[in-house]
Amino acid sequence: MANGIAAKAPASSPARRMTMQKLMRRRSTTALALALPLIVLISTLVIYPAFYAVYLSMLDRTMEHFTGLRNILFLLHFDTFWMVVKQSCLFAITAVIFKALIGFVTSHFVHNLPAKGQRKWRGMLLVPWVIPTAMSTIAWFWLFDPSYSAINWLLAKFGIESIPFLGVPGWARFSVILVNVWYGAPFFLIMYLAALKSVPDQLYEAAAIDGASWWQKVWYVTLPMMRNIIAITMLFSLIVTFANFDIVRILTYGGPVNSTHIFATWAFALGIQGNNIPMGASVSLFMLPILGVAAYFILRDINRRGSSV
């Protein structure tokens, strides 16, 4: 835009160049001033704490002596730690896969409906995402409750024996995943529905003329067109699910016998409740590799799209 003005006045007199320079200077200083609060906030409350966490993880329990990697090495020889690693991966990966599947299926169903009814259904199905997780998880906690369990009451009506949802490691793992899927699937539904709407109808018509079956349409038209959104939503969700805290904290608090602890809840139990801040920091740092990988792919996608536009 500055070039445009300059081109219109090719005889650029020195005075004019001065004002242009002043404008440019003013422009970048204003820009920096406008962005400054953001830069300050992010560097003091996000970037600095992130590096501080690395430093904290290298202290001993009293936080007076520097111990290097001893905390990390200690964790690597600790059975509970490996259980937490396994449970975190199981929790995040299973939950994301099921969220994506349910989101994909339900988005197709909603997309099938006549346009008038879609709004109503979409509005209804997004409710789990809108309710604060802490509160809906309390409701789930009670739905699972052994003595009052409303789900077991229903199962009993069908003659199925009552299930100790939160009392046995296997079922407890299933329950935390179920609640996470319940909470997160609507987000996928909304994203995939938006993606479905952006697929041009002509492609389906062309496929129909070529005699494509329903499966072929999904496989050769829908999936390739939605590939980007599917990938990015799953990566986002992987990060958020991996770092989840509320659901496990409220539903099982890591129990029975630490079997449902994930990184965030275990770090909380060690760091804040156990008053061993360096150990808690070390545990939470183990989230970094997965976050880094997911962030790399998300960023690559954004850059690619940025250059293609």
Partner: protein, 302 residues
């Protein structure tokens, strides 16, 4: 379509009807499955309502948990009369409103600067902002806890166990994403608008307030809703930083104080959850399109 159908002649007669029939089947199946999914998705909130309307006596009698035989508003009344619950509610409300204001004051100018007034490093910075959005709270709560303790030691300002301290912390959750969606909105505004403004002699600040804010209003509403819902439902930070009952926000207050050991007053807990979930639900009911726009903006724009 109809022209081509006529051209094909008699064979076309069978085709549309079979198409219509298969479409009707698809529709029918869609409804069946959507009803099943809706039951699954709406089960906890409905359960909250059912239990919130029950008396403790009815819950203890273990009658059908899916039906209310003697509905009562006692639980809701008791909560609205309890200073403790109202304190939680007030803390949450003040924090959410303050965080929304701070977030918008930081995010909108920054998004305008990063998205519209290119300067040295602005693209890198925009990407950096997005990356910080990916750093989860569960990675930062321990160092932040230590930093708050350190601030107390050096300056005497007690941040831990004070609900207002959360107003300083929450913007880290909201600002990056809000800046990111606002950048998208600002970039979608045609370049001609700011050229026209510049020719008319408007400064950059005027350009932002007089042109960009009104045009990007849908984006601003979407970002506001996002900031509000995030600060309303945040659980980890208040859980880690506040302890005393009068300093808690709603989600933590319900989890830690209403659930007391073996005295589960479930009717009241469910009523508390339902009322606590009401503000985001009401906003969602009235501004659904903006809510969804904010949700999808993160990934589809960018």
């Amino acid at each position: 379509m109809s022209a081509s159908a006529q051209a094909i002649g008699p064979r076309a007669a069978a085709k549309p009807s079979s198409l219509k029939r298969s479409r009707r089947w698809a529709l029918w199946w869609s409804y069946v499955f959507l009803v099943l999914f809706a039951i699954f998705f709406l089960m906890p909130p409905v359960y909250m309502l059912i239990m919130g309307l029950k008396t403790s006596g009815e819950i203890a009698a273990m009658t059908n948990p899916w039906w209310v035989f003697h509905p009562t508003l006692e639980n809701f009344k008791a909560l609205l009369g309890s200073t403790q619950y109202l304190t939680f509610f007030r803390n949450s409300a003040v924090i959410a409103v303050a965080v929304v204001i701070i977030t918008m004051l930081i995010a909108v100018p920054a998004a305008f600067s990063l998205g519209r007034m290119k300067f040295w490093g602005s693209t890198t910075l925009a990407t950096g902002v997005f990356l910080t959005y990916l750093i989860p709270d569960s990675l930062l709560f321990i160092p932040l806890f230590k930093i708050m303790a350190w601030v107390h030691e050096t300056t005497g300002i007690a941040l831990l166990n004070h609900w207002w301290a959360l107003i300083i912390i929450y913007p880290t959750l909201t600002v990056p994403f809000c800046t990111w969606i606002m950048i998208g909105y600002f970039q979608s505004i045609p370049k001609e608008l700011d050229e026209a403004a510049l020719i008319d002699g408007a400064g950059y600040i005027q350009m932002l307030t007089k042109i960009f804010l009104p045009v990007a209003l849908p984006g601003i509403i979407a970002a506001t809703i996002f900031a509000f819902t995030v600060s309303w439902s945040e659980f980890l930070y208040p859980m880690a930083f506040t302890v005393s009952t009068d300093q808690l926000v709603l989600p933590v207050g319900i989890v830690t104080t209403l659930i007391k050991g073996d005295v589960y007053n479930w009717g009241q807990i469910m009523a508390a959850c339902l009322m606590g979930a009401a503000p985001p639900l009401i906003i969602y009911a009235f501004l659904m399109d903006y809510y969804i726009a904010g949700l999808t903006a993160g990934a589809t724009k960018g």
